[in-house]
Amino acid sequence: MNELRDALMNDAALESALLRSASTDTAPAGSRDEMLARLGLGVVAGGAAAAAGAAVGKGTSVASAAGAVGAKVAVATTAVVTPLAKIGIVVSVVALGAVGTAAVVARSTAPRVIRPTAAQPVVSTATARVDLPANAPPTPIPVVTVDDLPVAARELHPVSSVEARVITKAEEPAPNAAAPDSLGREVALVASARESLARGDTTQARAVLAEYRAQFADSALTAEAAALEVEAARLDHDWARVRSLGDAYLRRFPETPHAARVRRWINEAHTNE
Protein backbone atom coordinates (compact mmCIF):
# COMPACT_ATOMS: atom_id res chain seq x y z
CA MET A 1 0.00 0.00 0.00
CA ASN A 2 2.99 2.26 0.39
CA GLU A 3 4.51 1.68 -2.99
CA LEU A 4 4.74 5.34 -3.82
CA ARG A 5 6.30 6.27 -0.50
CA ASP A 6 8.77 3.41 -0.90
CA ALA A 7 9.49 4.48 -4.44
CA LEU A 8 10.38 7.95 -3.28
CA MET A 9 13.41 6.48 -1.52
CA ASN A 10 15.47 6.57 -4.69
CA ASP A 11 15.25 7.60 -8.32
CA ALA A 12 15.40 4.11 -9.80
CA ALA A 13 12.60 2.89 -7.58
CA LEU A 14 10.40 5.81 -8.52
CA GLU A 15 11.13 5.28 -12.20
CA SER A 16 10.15 1.65 -11.96
CA ALA A 17 7.05 2.42 -9.96
CA LEU A 18 5.86 5.05 -12.42
CA LEU A 19 6.44 2.76 -15.37
CA ARG A 20 4.64 -0.09 -13.64
CA SER A 21 1.70 2.15 -12.89
CA ALA A 22 0.95 2.42 -16.60
CA SER A 23 -0.05 -1.20 -16.68
CA THR A 24 -2.78 -0.56 -14.15
CA ASP A 25 -4.44 1.98 -16.38
CA THR A 26 -7.52 0.50 -17.95
CA ALA A 27 -10.19 1.81 -20.25
CA PRO A 28 -13.42 2.73 -18.49
CA ALA A 29 -15.86 -0.10 -18.05
CA GLY A 30 -18.09 -0.44 -21.05
CA SER A 31 -15.96 1.64 -23.36
CA ARG A 32 -15.07 -1.34 -25.52
CA ASP A 33 -18.74 -2.22 -25.98
CA GLU A 34 -19.39 1.40 -26.83
CA MET A 35 -16.61 1.25 -29.41
CA LEU A 36 -18.14 -1.83 -30.99
CA ALA A 37 -21.44 0.00 -31.16
CA ARG A 38 -19.80 3.10 -32.59
CA LEU A 39 -18.25 1.00 -35.33
CA GLY A 40 -21.48 -0.83 -35.99
CA LEU A 41 -19.84 -4.10 -35.09
CA GLY A 42 -22.31 -5.31 -32.56
CA VAL A 43 -24.06 -4.24 -29.46
CA VAL A 44 -24.36 -6.67 -26.66
CA ALA A 45 -27.65 -7.36 -24.96
CA GLY A 46 -28.56 -4.59 -22.62
CA GLY A 47 -25.77 -2.45 -23.94
CA ALA A 48 -27.56 -0.89 -26.87
CA ALA A 49 -29.40 1.81 -25.05
CA ALA A 50 -26.44 2.45 -22.81
CA ALA A 51 -24.10 2.77 -25.76
CA ALA A 52 -26.53 5.08 -27.50
CA GLY A 53 -26.90 7.14 -24.39
CA ALA A 54 -23.19 7.35 -23.95
CA ALA A 55 -22.71 8.43 -27.52
CA VAL A 56 -25.29 11.18 -27.16
CA GLY A 57 -23.75 12.22 -23.90
CA LYS A 58 -20.41 12.77 -25.62
CA GLY A 59 -21.83 15.18 -28.11
CA THR A 60 -22.29 12.72 -30.87
CA SER A 61 -25.31 13.34 -33.03
CA VAL A 62 -28.63 11.81 -32.24
CA ALA A 63 -28.49 10.20 -35.64
CA SER A 64 -25.36 8.30 -34.82
CA ALA A 65 -26.69 7.02 -31.57
CA ALA A 66 -30.00 6.05 -33.07
CA GLY A 67 -28.26 4.55 -36.04
CA ALA A 68 -26.10 2.46 -33.80
CA VAL A 69 -29.11 0.74 -32.37
CA GLY A 70 -31.06 0.43 -35.55
CA ALA A 71 -33.60 3.19 -35.12
CA LYS A 72 -35.35 4.09 -38.32
CA VAL A 73 -35.67 7.85 -38.08
CA ALA A 74 -33.23 10.37 -36.80
CA VAL A 75 -32.21 13.87 -37.70
CA ALA A 76 -28.86 15.24 -36.78
CA THR A 77 -28.48 18.92 -36.11
CA THR A 78 -25.22 19.00 -34.25
CA ALA A 79 -22.58 21.24 -35.65
CA VAL A 80 -19.72 18.94 -34.84
CA VAL A 81 -19.73 15.87 -36.99
CA THR A 82 -17.35 13.15 -35.99
CA PRO A 83 -16.73 10.14 -38.17
CA LEU A 84 -19.12 8.35 -35.90
CA ALA A 85 -21.80 10.89 -36.55
CA LYS A 86 -21.35 10.36 -40.23
CA ILE A 87 -21.67 6.64 -39.85
CA GLY A 88 -24.81 7.13 -37.85
CA ILE A 89 -26.23 9.40 -40.48
CA VAL A 90 -25.46 6.86 -43.16
CA VAL A 91 -27.33 4.24 -41.22
CA SER A 92 -30.23 6.55 -40.57
CA VAL A 93 -30.57 7.67 -44.14
CA VAL A 94 -30.27 4.15 -45.46
CA ALA A 95 -32.84 3.08 -42.95
CA LEU A 96 -35.13 5.85 -44.16
CA GLY A 97 -34.76 4.45 -47.64
CA ALA A 98 -35.77 1.14 -46.25
CA VAL A 99 -38.88 2.68 -44.76
CA GLY A 100 -39.74 4.10 -48.14
CA THR A 101 -39.73 0.69 -49.73
CA ALA A 102 -41.23 -0.95 -46.71
CA ALA A 103 -38.67 -3.71 -46.97
CA VAL A 104 -36.46 -4.20 -44.02
CA VAL A 105 -34.79 -7.48 -43.29
CA ALA A 106 -33.48 -7.90 -39.84
CA ARG A 107 -30.78 -10.46 -39.33
CA SER A 108 -28.08 -11.48 -36.96
CA THR A 109 -27.27 -9.70 -33.77
CA ALA A 110 -25.67 -6.39 -34.30
CA PRO A 111 -26.25 -3.14 -36.07
CA ARG A 112 -23.94 -2.67 -38.97
CA VAL A 113 -23.29 0.26 -41.18
CA ILE A 114 -24.60 -0.62 -44.58
CA ARG A 115 -22.92 0.12 -47.86
CA PRO A 116 -25.00 2.78 -49.54
CA THR A 117 -26.31 2.16 -53.01
CA ALA A 118 -27.22 4.65 -55.68
CA ALA A 119 -30.76 4.64 -54.40
CA GLN A 120 -29.56 5.34 -50.89
CA PRO A 121 -27.42 8.44 -50.84
CA VAL A 122 -24.69 9.06 -48.31
CA VAL A 123 -25.21 12.31 -46.46
CA SER A 124 -22.01 13.77 -45.16
CA THR A 125 -23.38 16.91 -43.60
CA ALA A 126 -24.80 17.25 -40.16
CA THR A 127 -28.39 17.54 -41.28
CA ALA A 128 -29.98 14.65 -43.10
CA ARG A 129 -32.79 15.61 -45.47
CA VAL A 130 -34.64 13.03 -47.46
CA ASP A 131 -36.91 13.96 -50.36
CA LEU A 132 -39.55 11.39 -51.00
CA PRO A 133 -40.84 10.98 -54.57
CA ALA A 134 -43.64 13.37 -55.49
CA ASN A 135 -46.07 10.54 -56.04
CA ALA A 136 -45.24 8.78 -52.86
CA PRO A 137 -48.26 8.18 -50.68
CA PRO A 138 -48.26 10.27 -47.54
CA THR A 139 -47.33 7.39 -45.33
CA PRO A 140 -46.53 8.57 -41.84
CA ILE A 141 -42.95 7.85 -40.88
CA PRO A 142 -42.82 5.86 -37.70
CA VAL A 143 -40.91 7.42 -34.86
CA VAL A 144 -38.94 5.06 -32.74
CA THR A 145 -37.67 6.07 -29.37
CA VAL A 146 -34.88 4.39 -27.48
CA ASP A 147 -37.46 2.87 -25.17
CA ASP A 148 -39.08 1.15 -28.13
CA LEU A 149 -35.90 -0.60 -29.13
CA PRO A 150 -35.36 -4.27 -28.55
CA VAL A 151 -32.91 -5.25 -25.90
CA ALA A 152 -30.69 -7.00 -28.42
CA ALA A 153 -30.11 -4.63 -31.26
CA ARG A 154 -30.77 -5.99 -34.69
CA GLU A 155 -29.08 -5.28 -37.92
CA LEU A 156 -31.08 -3.54 -40.54
CA HIS A 157 -30.46 -4.48 -44.08
CA PRO A 158 -32.51 -2.57 -46.59
CA VAL A 159 -33.67 -4.22 -49.73
CA SER A 160 -34.08 -1.59 -52.37
CA SER A 161 -35.98 -1.93 -55.60
CA VAL A 162 -32.63 -1.74 -57.37
CA GLU A 163 -30.85 -4.35 -55.35
CA ALA A 164 -33.04 -7.06 -54.00
CA ARG A 165 -31.08 -9.54 -51.99
CA VAL A 166 -31.78 -12.84 -50.39
CA ILE A 167 -30.17 -13.18 -47.04
CA THR A 168 -28.48 -16.53 -46.95
CA LYS A 169 -26.67 -18.36 -44.23
CA ALA A 170 -23.40 -17.68 -46.00
CA GLU A 171 -23.87 -13.95 -45.52
CA GLU A 172 -24.27 -14.21 -41.82
CA PRO A 173 -21.44 -12.55 -39.92
CA ALA A 174 -18.72 -14.82 -38.65
CA PRO A 175 -20.22 -16.72 -35.77
CA ASN A 176 -19.34 -15.43 -32.37
CA ALA A 177 -18.31 -17.79 -29.68
CA ALA A 178 -21.59 -17.29 -27.97
CA ALA A 179 -25.10 -16.19 -28.67
CA PRO A 180 -25.80 -12.46 -28.25
CA ASP A 181 -27.26 -12.76 -24.79
CA SER A 182 -24.49 -14.98 -23.62
CA LEU A 183 -21.86 -12.73 -25.19
CA GLY A 184 -23.43 -9.81 -23.41
CA ARG A 185 -23.26 -11.67 -20.15
CA GLU A 186 -19.67 -12.57 -20.85
CA VAL A 187 -18.70 -8.99 -21.60
CA ALA A 188 -20.55 -7.74 -18.54
CA LEU A 189 -18.75 -10.17 -16.24
CA VAL A 190 -15.32 -9.32 -17.60
CA ALA A 191 -16.09 -5.60 -17.47
CA SER A 192 -17.24 -5.99 -13.88
CA ALA A 193 -14.04 -7.83 -12.96
CA ARG A 194 -11.95 -5.18 -14.64
CA GLU A 195 -13.82 -2.47 -12.80
CA SER A 196 -13.32 -4.23 -9.49
CA LEU A 197 -9.60 -4.48 -10.15
CA ALA A 198 -9.46 -0.81 -11.02
CA ARG A 199 -10.97 -0.10 -7.61
CA GLY A 200 -8.45 -2.44 -6.03
CA ASP A 201 -11.24 -4.80 -4.94
CA THR A 202 -9.52 -8.07 -5.77
CA THR A 203 -11.94 -10.16 -3.70
CA GLN A 204 -14.87 -9.03 -5.77
CA ALA A 205 -12.87 -9.39 -8.97
CA ARG A 206 -11.95 -12.96 -8.14
CA ALA A 207 -15.57 -13.81 -7.33
CA VAL A 208 -16.73 -12.39 -10.65
CA LEU A 209 -13.99 -14.20 -12.54
CA ALA A 210 -14.88 -17.47 -10.83
CA GLU A 211 -18.45 -16.96 -11.98
CA TYR A 212 -17.15 -16.26 -15.47
CA ARG A 213 -15.11 -19.45 -15.47
CA ALA A 214 -18.10 -21.47 -14.32
CA GLN A 215 -20.24 -20.16 -17.13
CA PHE A 216 -17.77 -19.84 -19.99
CA ALA A 217 -15.18 -22.55 -20.23
CA ASP A 218 -13.68 -21.60 -23.57
CA SER A 219 -15.18 -18.52 -25.03
CA ALA A 220 -14.50 -15.17 -26.63
CA LEU A 221 -13.09 -13.47 -23.55
CA THR A 222 -11.53 -16.45 -21.84
CA ALA A 223 -8.01 -15.16 -22.42
CA GLU A 224 -8.83 -11.74 -21.04
CA ALA A 225 -10.55 -13.20 -18.00
CA ALA A 226 -7.55 -15.41 -17.34
CA ALA A 227 -5.23 -12.41 -17.60
CA LEU A 228 -7.41 -10.55 -15.11
CA GLU A 229 -7.01 -13.44 -12.68
CA VAL A 230 -3.26 -13.08 -12.90
CA GLU A 231 -3.62 -9.35 -12.42
CA ALA A 232 -5.77 -9.89 -9.32
CA ALA A 233 -3.08 -12.08 -7.83
CA ARG A 234 -0.50 -9.43 -8.65
CA LEU A 235 -2.52 -6.71 -6.94
CA ASP A 236 -2.69 -8.98 -3.89
CA HIS A 237 1.08 -9.39 -4.08
CA ASP A 238 0.42 -13.13 -4.12
CA TRP A 239 3.54 -13.83 -6.12
CA ALA A 240 3.35 -17.61 -6.03
CA ARG A 241 -0.12 -17.41 -7.53
CA VAL A 242 1.05 -14.88 -10.10
CA ARG A 243 3.67 -17.37 -11.23
CA SER A 244 1.39 -20.41 -11.33
CA LEU A 245 -1.51 -18.61 -13.01
CA GLY A 246 0.85 -16.71 -15.27
CA ASP A 247 2.70 -19.82 -16.41
CA ALA A 248 -0.61 -21.55 -17.09
CA TYR A 249 -1.77 -18.50 -19.02
CA LEU A 250 1.30 -18.42 -21.23
CA ARG A 251 1.01 -22.13 -21.96
CA ARG A 252 -2.59 -21.67 -23.05
CA PHE A 253 -2.48 -18.22 -24.64
CA PRO A 254 1.10 -17.54 -25.69
CA GLU A 255 0.21 -15.20 -28.51
CA THR A 256 -2.51 -12.99 -27.09
CA PRO A 257 -2.00 -9.26 -26.58
CA HIS A 258 -2.04 -9.88 -22.81
CA ALA A 259 0.87 -12.29 -22.93
CA ALA A 260 3.53 -9.60 -22.70
CA ARG A 261 1.94 -8.15 -19.59
CA VAL A 262 1.64 -11.56 -18.01
CA ARG A 263 5.31 -12.24 -18.72
CA ARG A 264 6.20 -8.97 -17.05
CA TRP A 265 4.14 -9.86 -14.00
CA ILE A 266 5.81 -13.24 -13.77
CA ASN A 267 9.21 -11.54 -13.86
CA GLU A 268 7.96 -9.15 -11.21
CA ALA A 269 6.87 -12.12 -9.10
CA HIS A 270 10.29 -13.71 -9.37
CA THR A 271 11.82 -10.43 -8.27
CA ASN A 272 9.52 -9.92 -5.32
CA GLU A 273 9.31 -13.46 -4.00
Binding site: E15, L36, L39, T82, V113, R115, L221
Partner: protein
Amino acid sequence: MIAFAPTQIAPGTAVADVPAGDARLRQAVLDYHGILWRALRRLGVAERDVDDALQNVFLVAARKLGGIPREAERPFLFAVAVRVAANARRGDRKYAAVFADAPDAEVHSDIPTADYALEQLEMRRLLDVALDAMPTELRTVFVLVELEELTVAEVAELLELPPGTAASRLRRARERFSEIVRRIRERLARGGERS
Protein backbone atom coordinates in the same frame (compact mmCIF):
# COMPACT_ATOMS: atom_id res chain seq x y z
CA MET B 1 8.29 -3.13 -45.35
CA ILE B 2 4.59 -2.79 -44.74
CA ALA B 3 3.11 0.59 -45.46
CA PHE B 4 1.76 1.68 -42.13
CA ALA B 5 0.75 5.19 -43.00
CA PRO B 6 -2.97 5.57 -42.45
CA THR B 7 -5.15 7.14 -45.05
CA GLN B 8 -7.48 10.03 -44.53
CA ILE B 9 -10.99 8.99 -43.64
CA ALA B 10 -13.41 10.22 -46.25
CA PRO B 11 -16.69 11.78 -45.18
CA GLY B 12 -19.46 9.26 -45.05
CA THR B 13 -17.08 6.38 -44.52
CA ALA B 14 -18.90 3.32 -43.41
CA VAL B 15 -17.38 0.24 -41.87
CA ALA B 16 -19.12 -1.89 -44.49
CA ASP B 17 -17.16 -0.05 -47.16
CA VAL B 18 -13.88 -1.35 -45.95
CA PRO B 19 -12.08 -4.50 -46.95
CA ALA B 20 -11.01 -5.68 -43.52
CA GLY B 21 -14.24 -7.48 -42.81
CA ASP B 22 -16.40 -7.13 -39.77
CA ALA B 23 -15.14 -10.28 -38.12
CA ARG B 24 -11.48 -9.28 -38.21
CA LEU B 25 -12.16 -5.71 -37.20
CA ARG B 26 -14.38 -6.85 -34.37
CA GLN B 27 -11.66 -9.20 -33.17
CA ALA B 28 -9.15 -6.37 -33.39
CA VAL B 29 -11.39 -4.24 -31.20
CA LEU B 30 -11.76 -7.07 -28.70
CA ASP B 31 -8.02 -7.77 -28.66
CA TYR B 32 -6.54 -4.30 -28.78
CA HIS B 33 -9.08 -1.87 -27.38
CA GLY B 34 -7.57 -1.83 -23.92
CA ILE B 35 -3.98 -1.77 -25.11
CA LEU B 36 -4.54 1.04 -27.56
CA TRP B 37 -6.65 3.00 -25.10
CA ARG B 38 -3.74 2.94 -22.68
CA ALA B 39 -1.18 3.69 -25.37
CA LEU B 40 -3.14 6.71 -26.58
CA ARG B 41 -3.29 8.03 -23.05
CA ARG B 42 0.45 7.66 -22.58
CA LEU B 43 1.05 9.19 -25.98
CA GLY B 44 -0.60 12.31 -24.67
CA VAL B 45 -4.24 12.12 -25.69
CA ALA B 46 -6.45 13.63 -23.01
CA GLU B 47 -8.73 11.12 -21.34
CA ARG B 48 -11.82 12.89 -22.60
CA ASP B 49 -10.59 12.50 -26.17
CA VAL B 50 -9.36 8.94 -26.04
CA ASP B 51 -12.58 7.30 -27.22
CA ASP B 52 -12.78 9.51 -30.29
CA ALA B 53 -9.10 8.99 -31.04
CA LEU B 54 -9.47 5.26 -30.64
CA GLN B 55 -12.45 5.25 -32.94
CA ASN B 56 -10.31 6.94 -35.56
CA VAL B 57 -7.66 4.26 -35.10
CA PHE B 58 -10.21 1.53 -35.74
CA LEU B 59 -11.73 3.36 -38.70
CA VAL B 60 -8.30 3.53 -40.29
CA ALA B 61 -7.78 -0.11 -39.37
CA ALA B 62 -11.08 -0.97 -41.01
CA ARG B 63 -9.82 0.43 -44.28
CA LYS B 64 -6.35 -1.03 -44.17
CA LEU B 65 -6.44 -4.13 -42.03
CA GLY B 66 -7.36 -6.38 -44.91
CA GLY B 67 -3.94 -5.77 -46.44
CA ILE B 68 -2.03 -6.26 -43.21
CA PRO B 69 -0.70 -9.72 -42.32
CA ARG B 70 -1.98 -10.90 -38.98
CA GLU B 71 1.51 -11.02 -37.51
CA ALA B 72 1.90 -7.33 -38.35
CA GLU B 73 -1.48 -6.34 -36.95
CA ARG B 74 -0.20 -5.16 -33.59
CA PRO B 75 2.59 -2.87 -34.86
CA PHE B 76 0.25 -1.60 -37.55
CA LEU B 77 -2.36 -0.58 -35.00
CA PHE B 78 0.31 1.10 -32.88
CA ALA B 79 1.53 2.95 -35.95
CA VAL B 80 -1.95 4.26 -36.57
CA ALA B 81 -2.34 5.13 -32.89
CA VAL B 82 0.89 7.15 -32.94
CA ARG B 83 -0.35 9.20 -35.86
CA VAL B 84 -3.84 9.63 -34.45
CA ALA B 85 -2.33 10.68 -31.13
CA ALA B 86 -0.21 13.27 -32.87
CA ASN B 87 -3.38 14.83 -34.25
CA ALA B 88 -5.46 14.46 -31.14
CA ARG B 89 -2.88 15.50 -28.60
CA ARG B 90 -4.18 18.19 -26.44
CA GLY B 91 -3.37 21.67 -27.52
CA ASP B 92 -2.85 23.30 -24.21
CA ARG B 93 0.25 21.24 -23.45
CA LYS B 94 0.24 22.47 -19.92
CA TYR B 95 3.45 20.81 -19.03
CA ALA B 96 5.14 21.15 -22.39
CA ALA B 97 8.65 22.43 -22.90
CA VAL B 98 10.57 21.97 -19.72
CA PHE B 99 9.47 20.43 -16.52
CA ALA B 100 10.97 23.23 -14.48
CA ASP B 101 8.23 25.51 -15.77
CA ALA B 102 5.45 23.23 -14.63
CA PRO B 103 3.46 24.50 -11.68
CA ASP B 104 4.20 22.86 -8.39
CA ALA B 105 0.63 21.69 -8.12
CA GLU B 106 1.24 19.30 -10.96
CA VAL B 107 3.69 17.26 -9.00
CA HIS B 108 2.72 17.92 -5.46
CA SER B 109 -0.18 16.34 -3.76
CA ASP B 110 -1.04 14.48 -0.63
CA ILE B 111 0.11 10.98 -1.37
CA PRO B 112 -2.69 8.52 -0.80
CA THR B 113 -1.49 5.60 1.24
CA ALA B 114 -4.68 3.84 2.23
CA ASP B 115 -5.83 2.73 -1.14
CA TYR B 116 -3.80 0.91 -3.73
CA ALA B 117 -5.96 2.10 -6.62
CA LEU B 118 -5.63 5.72 -5.60
CA GLU B 119 -1.92 5.28 -5.23
CA GLN B 120 -1.70 3.86 -8.72
CA LEU B 121 -3.79 6.75 -9.98
CA GLU B 122 -1.39 9.19 -8.41
CA MET B 123 1.59 7.42 -9.92
CA ARG B 124 -0.01 7.43 -13.35
CA ARG B 125 -0.56 11.15 -12.96
CA LEU B 126 3.10 11.62 -12.16
CA LEU B 127 4.00 9.39 -15.08
CA ASP B 128 1.95 11.59 -17.37
CA VAL B 129 3.64 14.68 -15.97
CA ALA B 130 7.00 13.13 -16.82
CA LEU B 131 5.91 12.02 -20.28
CA ASP B 132 4.36 15.41 -21.00
CA ALA B 133 7.71 16.99 -20.29
CA MET B 134 9.44 14.90 -22.96
CA PRO B 135 9.76 15.93 -26.59
CA THR B 136 7.21 14.10 -28.70
CA GLU B 137 9.69 12.11 -30.75
CA LEU B 138 11.39 10.79 -27.62
CA ARG B 139 8.14 10.20 -25.81
CA THR B 140 6.74 8.13 -28.66
CA VAL B 141 9.69 5.76 -28.79
CA PHE B 142 9.83 5.57 -25.01
CA VAL B 143 6.15 4.73 -24.63
CA LEU B 144 6.17 2.11 -27.34
CA VAL B 145 9.27 0.34 -26.06
CA GLU B 146 9.11 0.80 -22.29
CA LEU B 147 5.38 0.68 -21.72
CA GLU B 148 3.96 -1.21 -24.65
CA GLU B 149 6.93 -3.55 -24.98
CA LEU B 150 7.47 -3.29 -28.70
CA THR B 151 10.97 -4.03 -29.88
CA VAL B 152 13.21 -1.26 -31.14
CA ALA B 153 13.10 -2.90 -34.57
CA GLU B 154 9.29 -2.83 -34.55
CA VAL B 155 9.26 0.79 -33.46
CA ALA B 156 11.78 1.72 -36.13
CA GLU B 157 9.62 0.10 -38.77
CA LEU B 158 6.31 1.55 -37.68
CA LEU B 159 7.78 5.04 -37.29
CA GLU B 160 9.66 4.61 -40.55
CA LEU B 161 12.99 5.36 -38.89
CA PRO B 162 16.40 3.79 -39.42
CA PRO B 163 16.99 1.31 -36.58
CA GLY B 164 19.97 3.34 -35.36
CA THR B 165 17.84 6.44 -35.06
CA ALA B 166 15.16 4.61 -33.11
CA ALA B 167 17.80 3.18 -30.77
CA SER B 168 19.36 6.60 -30.33
CA ARG B 169 16.01 8.16 -29.52
CA LEU B 170 15.31 5.45 -26.99
CA ARG B 171 18.62 6.07 -25.27
CA ARG B 172 18.01 9.80 -25.12
CA ALA B 173 14.43 9.22 -24.00
CA ARG B 174 15.57 7.04 -21.12
CA GLU B 175 18.09 9.64 -20.05
CA ARG B 176 15.49 12.38 -20.24
CA PHE B 177 12.92 10.32 -18.36
CA SER B 178 15.41 9.56 -15.60
CA GLU B 179 16.28 13.22 -15.29
CA ILE B 180 12.63 14.26 -15.09
CA VAL B 181 11.83 11.58 -12.52
CA ARG B 182 14.79 12.70 -10.44
CA ARG B 183 13.41 16.23 -10.40
CA ILE B 184 9.93 15.01 -9.58
CA ARG B 185 11.29 13.05 -6.65
CA GLU B 186 13.28 16.01 -5.39
CA ARG B 187 10.24 18.22 -5.60
CA LEU B 188 8.01 15.70 -3.87
CA ALA B 189 10.63 15.24 -1.19
CA ARG B 190 10.55 18.96 -0.56
CA GLY B 191 6.79 18.81 -0.30
CA GLY B 192 6.09 20.73 -3.45
CA GLU B 193 8.39 23.58 -2.70
CA ARG B 194 9.23 25.42 -5.91
CA SER B 195 12.80 24.81 -7.01
